[in-house]
Amino acid sequence: MLSNLAAAVFLTLSVAGSASGDGFDQVMIDAAFNRVAPAVGLLTFTSEITKSASGELSRRAGNALGLVIARDGLLITHGHILQEDREPVNIRFTLGRGEDEQEYDVKLLKKPDDINICFLRLVSDQPLDLPYVTFRSGGTLSIGEPLMIVGVLSETLDNTQGVFFARVGAILDKPRVTYCLDEALRFGFVTGPVVNTAGEVVGVVGFDLSVQEGGELYVRSGHPLVYQTDLFRRYIDEPPGEQEAVADVPDAWLGVFTQPLTDDFAEYWGMEKKGGVIISSIVSGSPADKAGLKTGDVVVDFNGMPVRSKLDREVLQFTKLVRETGAGQPVPMTFLREGQPTQIEVMLEPRPKPASEAIEYEDPVFGLTVRELTTDVRILLNLPDTVQGVIIRRVKSGSTAQRAGMRSGIIILNFERHPVTNIDDFKAAVDAVAQDRPNEISVFCRAGAVTGFFRLEPRWNDAAGE
């Protein structure tokens, strides 16, 4: 096995070494590889993919690099395994080779919403003591700096571990600092540990999400990046979602969309060019709305902290500030309205549940999986407050609902004369209808901006057997 690994290293070196490996000496490479590679393993899983058009569910085998980042079995992998339309199930992790090979059950933790990395926890009866990588703290990378990335080669090469050399091709500063690699990467190197010439692990390889992929903050799909440790360090200490039961203060929420007060905006409005946060949009019914904030107000002080944003990434600091302020108590803030400073107190509320945490319900009869309408989805679909219902997340292949032409994204407003405003209503309606067993069920829905009817024609006899 060892010889196998060595061969992989040499092979890669012979290709990439002369061109981009300079800066690394062979002794360093050996040392770093031997230290880091044992923490690199292979995740295998079944990816459940929902077709957005039909809501049909298909399954595909998937694999990805898994990197052990804590001795007790905390892993990371790339965030693309979990997306709006796909979810990994039946996840397994293989570490080591040959006689040392160990396989584990894996649980996917909550995906953080500020970085495209998934965290996973190995499930084991015994306490684990696994090889893991330790990351360098702080520090920056320089343009052109040579880097070594450890990863796994493809299945046809037995998922053997290997290395890849690249350089920092660009330093991105918006919306937060990241480093662009100058080389396209092979699949098995995503989330691979990134080692500098001093042998330190400075971060992992990542890809930001585009909007189409459900990315909220970042839109640089397709470019391999180095996520430096500082971007995800806090999740190593506090794995996302695991501490939630004990977390006493939920994220706070103001309910605004913001833009930085650039010098140009300041000039336009005749304000001092000191930065600030422009309120560009207010979610109706949110704390900001209740406090009487208006679009065009410029926040300059929040909870005693000056707010001085001139760039997009500085607005994120305001976002973080609000989030961490804590809900339920009045918070003083100062804003400029038409140039005049105004002070108010705003009562922050807990951040509304995002769609990824929404309650889902799969009805046992018609093949519909529905979700409650969360605030983020209401904003995304631009739904007026008058629209209440549940949104179809999936439609089972071959089901009564599929035969009726129902598909994901449609909002159910009324189910056979039972108004549906939430999941409980929907459950009750389904139960009532399943009791009555009518031949035809009329479902009133909203698709896009218009409403319409679907007719379900259940095969009751078949359904009973399910």
Partner: protein
């Protein structure tokens, strides 16, 4: 002699291509073709298109046919709509200029008038209601620009319902589906029966399929063309109801009527008190029954044909009751608004349609829709995006496209350095700051770039 020469070419193709066609049928086909071919027109319009934030003129190719000796030509709206110049090539290869008399986006039909003093050969219009599936038909036109092409096939389906896809709609007609080869460039050409009468206007095909082409029934076209010739446009009534076939509620054929699926906010139907779920039993005394979706276009046409601004009684079933609701119709607005290029800032914008207003949940009908942004231009750098709805410029409300252009031109003239636009993007509004002069250094521009990309939700 020349006429004979150019009739021979297609004839040869037919003779070798349809070996199995018997002699009698063969003669019938040729006779039918001969009746229409002299009136066939190859159309080369130069039309304006708006793409990537720019207005451009492009040359397109299509087909059409002359319907009167004084030179009216029927073709598709998607061939000659927004054309600045139309050149036609007649069957004798003579080039003649034409003007667009009018076009109708709802039926994809347009009428041209040829600038010719001589009487012209013209086709005879047949009746599409008499068509049967299986009936032999010919398609004539310019597939891929190959003028004077004839293809042969049968009517596959007489009343195919095509659902709307984005802005490709046909609310008022079903379609003749044919397996006669129809390709790009056939658009606007005639579908002809064996008597040599035009029974349809070829307009669509199914991309990725073979021998699945669609023609607008001539009965639909006749009505639209008459209106365009008389008044330059087609006027239709609108009440703001979306209808669905009864099968969406029940498979029971004894339940008659048509379902109201949706009521547009602020529409005549809403004002009159119609509701989604009501079943329309009759409109202005005419019984309405749409069991299948193929029955829907006729119902929509019934509404459209009510004189604009007059009152019509909708008899509806609501629960166990039957009630009469009087609705005063409005004129249906065009499917698509006018569009303009704002060259200095590098973007294009169009008039808002009621559909856009509704999707954007706008409180009123003011504003313009950004239809394209030129990469690297001033608007692009300020973060303006396609789909944005501009509501205000500085403190002035952009009432409509004309008003917006006025505001824009004032600012171009004054060359004030900074101009603020308030835009609606989905559910969210944003401030977009246009920098008219770029005397600043490059690094300041760098900062601005991409600023519009991210909205920070807090």
């Amino acid at each position: 002699m020349r006429r004979v020469a150019w009739y021979i070419a297609p004839l040869l193709v037919l003779a070798t291509g349809c070996v199995t066609t018997g002699g009698a049928t063969q003669r019938t086909v040729i006779r039918a073709k001969d009746r229409v071919a002299p009136a066939l027109v190859h159309i080369r319009p130069v039309k304006q298109v708006f793409a990537q934030g720019k207005r451009e003129e492009i040359l397109v190719l299509g087909s059409g046919f002359i319907i009167s000796p004084d030179g009216y030509v029927v073709t598709n709206e998607h061939v000659v709509g927004e054309a600045s110049f139309v050149e036609c090539v007649l069957s004798n290869k003579e080039e003649v200029e034409a003007e667009v008399v009018g076009a109708d986006r709802y039926t994809d039909l347009a009428v041209l008038k040829l600038a010719s003093d001589d009487p012209l050969p013209f086709v005879k219009l047949g009746s599409s209601s008499a068509l049967e599936s299986g009936q032999t038909v010919l398609a004539l036109g310019s597939p891929h620009g190959l003028a004077r092409s004839v293809s042969l096939g049968i009517v596959s389906v007489t009343d195919r319902y095509l659902e709307e896809q984005d802005d490709v709609v046909s609310p008022y007609n079903n379609w003749i589906q044919t397996d006669a080869a129809i390709n790009r460039g056939n658009s606007g050409g005639p579908l002809v029966n064996l008597k040599g009468e035009v029974v349809g206007v070829n307009a669509r095909m199914l991309v990725g399929a073979e021998n699945v082409g669609f023609a607008i029934p001539i009965d639909t076209a006749r009505d639209v063309v008459d209106q365009i010739i008389k008044q330059g446009r087609v006027s239709r009534s609108w009440v703001g109801v979306t209808v669905q076939e009864m099968r969406r509620k029940t498979n029971d054929p004894s339940v008659r009527g048509v379902i109201i699926a949706d009521i547009e906010p602020l529409s005549p139907a809403q004002e009159a008190g119609l509701k989604p779920g009501d079943i329309i039993l009759s409109i202005a005394g005419t019984l309405t029954n749409a069991r299948f979706e193929e029955d829907l276009p006729a119902i929509r046409k019934l509404v459209a044909d009510i004189p604009v601004g007059s009152e019509a009684v909708f008899r509806v079933a609501r629960g166990d009751e039957e009630i009469d609701v009087a609705v005063t119709t409005e004129e249906r607005s065009d499917l698509k608004g006018d569009e303009l290029e704002f060259e200095e800032w590098g973007f294009t914008a169009s008039e808002l349609t009621p559909e856009m207003v509704r999707r954007a949940q706008l409180p009123g009908r003011t504003g313009v829709a950004v239809s394209g942004v030129q990469v690297g231009g001033i608007a692009f750098k300020a973060g303006l995006q396609q789909g944005d709805i501009v509501l205000k410029m500085d403190d002035a409300v952009a009432d409509n496209l004309a008003g917006f252009r006025r505001l824009y031109e004032e600012r171009i003239a004054s060359s004030q350095r900074l101009v603020m636009m308030v835009v609606q993007r989905g559910a969210v509004s944003r401030f977009v700051l246009i920098k008219q002069t770029s005397e600043d250094e490059a690094d300041v521009e760098m900062e601005q770039e991409g600023e519009g990309e991210n909205s920070h939700v807090e």
